[in-house]
Symmetry: C2
Subunit: 494 residues, 2 copies
């Protein structure tokens, strides 16, 4: 950053220039499709609001969004900490501001004695992962922490209090925090140490002098945007090499699946009725215990995912579950991080969300069809594990099914569907095309299971050569998992 001019009038002129420059830079970022996330955190009375307003002034209002974080809003507390922030990540070419963000929520929870020192570490980790994932997807991240001296803070509180119309803004909590100024600042310094990263540096800005602070904020944002634009120009200039298929030769999980002994229809009906009754009851308990449940159904085309889901939900109160069928992303979804559309669908406490296909598309169809780069899908294993860890840390139960059939069984089912005028619509050219790439998919599925089977979010490979037994088995596995969760249930804070 260049030297700050001394006189007030030249500082004012510089501010105007910077405001214009930010407008120009953001229009360029828009043209290049560069998204950015600007997180503004700070102490109480550090002028967050007015600084943010000033920054927004010269940016075209059609290209940014502001999300204000309120610790008092109850609704987002039904979801994991980062859910509301994932819901407000920027699309290509857009700027997203957080008027305070996840840091504030965690610090507030800590200061209020709601979370302890161990828990706080795990929150910092989740936030680090969040930012790294966004950055890897090309989002430029700016993090600004606004400080104010203890003396100036007191002055600003007093000024607000002296006006009867603004006095309500200073709550007893604010004065309490003011008295704890030193330990609170220590905690913030720890936080900054834990969450400063090469791709998401903290910029500490002192606001005792507001004009200087504004100049620093402008500089920080403009620099980051310009760097991101440059990076984009560079990556556009160098043509990416033609991507090769990266084979997988390790453990073959699918080869080990044994076809289960087929059920006869009478036996099936009896078993199913029993399971449906059991699941109906257990879902009531899940609702009362406020546990969110995430079920992922993956499998070969025609393996019978839909049928399993139907039999599962048949007995469940529709108020307690929701099915999200996952297809190709829409244009709007393609302008966001690939996990964004799934985060939007995550269940609230006590609800069950059923994904018919899922985020694993990244390492299956997107890998096989080269819809993302090798680097992207290889990175996805870690990203997905981190997402699932954040969800299970929140108390969610995650269960992932792979419904397995052999190639011959698939062929028979495709033919049967095509011969049935009521089921013909279920089968498309895509299905036949996917089938030709069976071997590649097999490698991709095996590697996926190897990389993302985790104790808290396990894969269950279920033979579906007999559809009826697959329906029974998937429900059995769910009952087992939910019963365990009900035993161990402990509620998280944020």
């Amino acid at each position: 950053m260049s030297e700050l001019p001394e006189s007030e009038s030249s500082q004012k002129n510089l501010l105007k220039e910077l405001a214009t420059q930010l407008g120009v830079t953001q229009r360029k970022a828009k043209d290049y499709g560069v998204p950015s996330l600007i997180i503004i955190e700070g102490l109480d009375a550090s002028a967050k609001g007015s600084l943010l307003n000033q920054v927004l002034l010269e940016i075209d209002s059609r290209s940014y969004d502001v999300y204000s974080t309120h610790a008092s809003h109850q609704e987002p507390r039904n979801f994991p900490l980062l859910w509301r922030f994932w819901n407000h990540t920027p699309a290509k070419g857009r700027m997203q501001f957080y008027d305070r963000g996840p840091y504030y929520l965690v610090l507030d929870g800590w200061a209020e004695g709601e979370i302890d020192n161990d828990e706080i570490e795990s929150y910092w980790e989740h936030i680090r992962n969040f930012e790294r994932q966004l950055e890897d997807s090309g989002i430029a991240i700016v993090k600004i922490f606004l400080t104010v001296s203890k003396k100036t803070q007191a002055k600003r509180f007093e000024k607000l209090e002296s006006n009867p119309k603004t006095a309500w803004r200073v709550r007893p909590k604010d004065w309490k925090r003011h008295r704890q100024y030193k330990p609170y600042l220590q905690k913030i310094n720890q936080m900054i140490g834990k969450t400063d990263a090469p791709y998401a540096r903290w910029e500490i800005v002192d606001t005792d002098n507001i004009r200087r602070a504004a100049i620093k904020v402008y500089h920080t944002i403009i620099e980051k945007l310009e760097a991101a634009i440059l990076e984009k120009e560079r990556s556009k200039a160098s043509e990416p090499p033609k991507e090769e298929w990266i084979p997988y030769r390790e453990k073959n999980f699918l080869a080990k699946v044994k076809a289960s002994t087929p059920l006869d229809r009478v036996e099936y009906k009896t078993k199913l009725r029993k399971r449906q009754k059991a699941i109906q009851e257990i879902v009531h308990e899940i609702y009362t215990a406020k546990i969110p449940v995430i079920l992922v159904y993956c499998g070969w085309d025609a393996a019978g995912k839909g049928g399993c889901i139907k039999r599962l939900v048949q007995g469940i109160d529709p108020r307690s579950y929701h099915v999200t069928p996952v297809g190709a992303p829409t244009k709007d979804e393609l302008r966001h991080h690939y996990l964004w559309r799934f985060w939007k669908r995550m269940p609230r406490r006590g609800s069950i969300e059923i994904f018919d296909r899922s985020w694993y598309g990244r390492v299956l169809v997107e890998r096989v069809e080269h819809l993302c780069t090798n680097r992207e899908w290889r990175r996805a294993y870690q990203e997905i594990n981190e997402m699932e860890a954040h969800l299970t840390d929140f108390g969610a139960v995650i269960l992932k099914y792979w419904l397995h059939i052999d190639k011959e069984t698939q062929f028979e089912r495709f033919q049967a569907r095509q011969a049935n005028p009521l089921k013909e619509w279920k089968i498309t050219d895509d299905d036949w095309r996917n089938r030709e790439k069976w071997d590649l998919y097999e490698e991709a599925v095996n590697e996926m299971v190897k990389e993302t089977d985790r104790p808290h979010a396990p894969w269950k490979i279920v033979s579906s050569v007999c559809k009826m037994s697959a329906r029974i088995e998937t429900i059995d596995l769910l009952i087992e998992q939910l019963s365990r969760a009900l035993k161990n249930n402990a509620k998280p804070v944020l």
Copy 2:
């Protein structure tokens, strides 16, 4: 509806046939782009959940959504009654189910003594308007009310209570409602009388016999879908006539606008600073009083909407306002009712939502450019008035500005923008094209003002030939309106 077969097994077969038929009909509705809304209301223990589940079984899960209405969810109570339902209206070709809907919320509020008999009438009216608007846009509406005899209701409660795992589902409130069975049913009968309409008929379904009930539900939905598909086929067959411009020759509001005396810059700065301080304080009061505020900025291109908005928000805490710039609808938005995208943006209690352009696009650009039919934009006046009435009944303040300049002033501003490399991006070919249709727009604006200027949602036509005085005047008008609202504030229930 045809005769119901007598034997149990033929009833079961009929049910299976109907399930298949519904699947087929919905796929056809999807192909034709016919959206539908199925509202399922009913008494406690009328088997809403299991009937809904049964209906969903044969529908492709990629083509429907279920919204479950919970009276206990606090978040939607920060918005008008119909907000959550507008957020869940179906896109073209999709089926939206409400597992209980607005009726339930109103009846529950009434039974709990939260709303009185006068208020209830106004809620029925808003719901009627909602349904008529959806129907007019081509959404097929099915409304089912499930009943159960007092005796069977008691039996079902007792059955739930006898199982320790489901006992929690029967709350004291349910037994209370059971004891009030007769007066509650009377109220429901009144409700049905008030909200039964040719385009949205109530179907009353007794559920003492569940199988008969299911058959009736299937029939009702299939019939309505088929009628809607037929209607769509018919309208496709008959080519719509070439639409003529419908002139407006009545009161000319714009001709009466006097250009305000231009302000000099020093005077402007002093006035502006004073207003900004005042508005900052009043916004705090609005926040405390939990009044939602909706500001609509419309006006000629280059009239200075953006500049007015900037000066207004400059002093306001960013946590209390949000700006929505309105452009052409996205593809996704075009698949919904034209008001859907605005409903999503309506402010919660205590917040200010600023629309830079708005739903009035329907009767301005869409009218002039023939982007909708004459019938559609003519109907829009009433639809918009009804929407604004629902919002103001909830306690919202609505203020609508038309920033007015003459044709010559616009020309000068266009030229100045094009000569300034920093502002050039603001001007597009569209702007020049719109300019050519100035006279048509003038008619459209005048008719819009005539049809939608209402005491609770007034139009304020502000001369913006001097931009500075327009900025001052718009803020003054807002301060006046907000002060009045703070005086009269009374909080609604739902």
